[in-house]
């Protein structure tokens, strides 16, 4: 699956993503959470707060949605953000993309 763009992101305490509608030219953005939710870890899409996620849960937004996040907890949180045109994407596809990346 070559049409996806994958970001692996770790937010340490205080890190953030500014409110954005950047979809890297793709229709969708899917976030795979890599840790369980902790209090004060803010993630929002179109002003709707996402919280209480479990490790490997995912959330998809479309390129008409704004998104932002800010980690106000004392723990780091990690996630994979995948930008894609297909209706859905899997964590395995994202990991394969990372493994096969050339730097």
């Amino acid at each position: 699956m070559n049409d996806i763009i994958v970001d692996y992101i770790t937010q340490t305490p205080g890190d953030y993503e500014i409110p954005s509608m950047a979809y890297k030219g793709k229709k969708f953005r899917t976030v795979f959470f890599l840790d369980d939710f902790k209090l004060a870890q803010f993630v929002e899409v179109n002003d709707k707060l996402i919280r209480d996620w479990k490790k490997y849960d995912k959330f998809t937004s479309t390129n008409s949605d704004s998104y932002a996040s800010m980690n106000l907890s004392l723990d780091a949180r990690s996630y994979i953000a995948v930008y894609h045109d297909s209706e859905s994407v899997t964590l395995e596809q994202a990991i394969d993309k990372i493994k096969n990346a050339s730097f």
Binding site: P13, L39, F42
Partner: protein, 204 residues
């Protein structure tokens, strides 16, 4: 009741433009020297230490000027706390106050000359003080606050939240384009304060 909300109705838009970040955080160094107990200091200042060690940006703080900010200053009498301290907190983009409980340090008392405050310190905390927060502007994108299990990304100017910050964890921050302004109110409860808290809406 973990969090109580009260509405303050008034217009302080012009007064807020006069904000000055003139209240530094000298209390941290003073508290460390006075405490002389490194482990206790680290426990009470856990989030402060993380802020300092990781160079995580903090919000700035500023005194009220009663001459140029009379509307905001009128909150002092309206709320009726004894030895009250009213300061404005400003969060620019990237500035935070990470998850913590308040310990209201001994050396963070005096707001300005003429407003000396009584000290009743136990374990380097002023345990008899209470604290509340009033949002000074409507919420803008990228602004957040959390009190206990309540995580907020929506509020209006004049929303005033009371919670026991010495018992429940809380945090705040902004990653948006606009600064986030909050009034922090600290003081000792009185019968007048109890009357203030019994009403849901107040006008200033």
């Amino acid at each position: 009741m973990e969090v109580k909300k009260i509405k303050i109705i008034g217009d302080w838009t012009e007064e807020l433009k006069l904000y000055q970040p003139n209240f530094e955080r000298y209390y941290l160094e003073k508290s460390l020297k006075a405490m002389g107990d490194e482990e206790k200091y680290k426990k009470l200042n856990h989030h402060n230490i993380i802020h300092a060690e990781k160079k995580i940006l903090r919000n700035s703080r500023g005194f009220l000027d009663p001459k140029t900010m009379p509307t905001l200053e009128s909150l002092r009498d309206l709320i009726g706390l004894k030895d009250s301290q009213l300061i404005i907190l400003k969060y620019n983009r990237g500035e935070t106050n990470l998850l913590h409980k308040d310990y209201i340090p001994k050396y963070d008392h005096v707001e300005r000359e003429g407003l000396e405050r009584e000290e009743q310190v136990h374990e380097w905390k002023n345990t008899h003080y209470i604290r509340m927060l009033m949002l000074l502007e409507d919420r803008k994108p990228g602004q957040y606050m959390q009190m206990g299990d309540m995580m907020l990304n929506n509020w209006d100017a004049g929303d005033l939240y009371f919670y026991n910050g010495q018992e429940i964890y809380h945090s705040a921050g902004s990653c948006g384009d606009d600064p986030r302004y909050v009034m922090r109110i600290t003081g000792i409860p009185t019968p007048k304060y109890n009357d203030f808290m019994s009403k849901e809406v107040h006008h200033i």
